[in-house]
Symmetry: C2
Subunit: 143 residues, 2 copies
């Protein structure tokens, strides 16, 4: 089970890399850490209305957090990116097509299989991204 993120820590990570701790960034970090599941830039921007954070700042900060490794960008939707707060380790995403929940998993079997396949075809794999779409535990019970 990957450990949870903490707002303070993320902000410290920021300044450690020479970025500044600002109102806007504090608001964004706090907001996303209290989310579960995926969200789009637009949604986040709307939630931040009380803090008057500009659209551009939302996008800029999302980029920053992706680069920092705090957020992961998903490509499930055609038209726009979605983001999820992600744990520290490498992992994959289970996207529930019913409730939209995104679950993180890491599984050594998958890593091993990917590595083995790459070796077989002579490909030097630097990174990989696996998205699994289906129906989650919860939603199966409901149906």
């Amino acid at each position: 089970m990957p450990r949870q993120r903490d707002g303070e820590r993320v902000l410290r990570q920021l300044s450690a890399r020479g970025f500044r701790e600002t109102e806007a960034r504090r608001a964004i970090v706090e907001t996303i850490l209290h989310k579960d599941g995926q969200f789009t830039a637009r949604q986040l921007h709307e939630e931040l209305e009380p803090w008057d954070v500009g659209r551009a700042t939302v996008f800029r900060t999302l980029d920053l957090l992706v680069e920092l490794g705090v957020l992961n960008r998903l490509h499930t939707d055609e038209r726009c990116s979605s983001y999820v707060v992600c744990a520290d380790q490498h992992h994959h995403h289970l996207v529930c097509e019913r409730c939209g929940t995104v679950q993180e998993v890491s599984d050594p079997r998958i890593e091993r299989a990917v590595r083995a396949m790459a070796v077989d075809v002579g490909f030097r794999a630097r990174e990989h991204r696996l998205e699994i779409v289906g129906i989650c535990d919860q939603c199966q019970d409901v149906s």
Copy 2:
């Protein structure tokens, strides 16, 4: 090794599903089948200039072909989709970050690992998408 596509067959698939065989679609199908690697809608549209195929038609046809299973949409690039002609079977993509070549692979070990993981966490997986980014065989030799 997945079998190659054939223009005639694709067009027949189209009419079999009630779509019409038109000039524009013929031009598009022929053009993409002669491509290797990925391409964007814009690139395709440019290549089709001599045939006077409208931008909208390019997008509409790409959608159609994706739905038909002839093309696969990649999400490697943030700003726009890329497409690759894909073989009939389920497979994954190895994207070379040096030359941009996209190689298709299917590997039972990966399928098995994904299935096993899904079972473990109680997720009913409907589909999955794996993109592996790295350096291909060829480019490793060159360096």
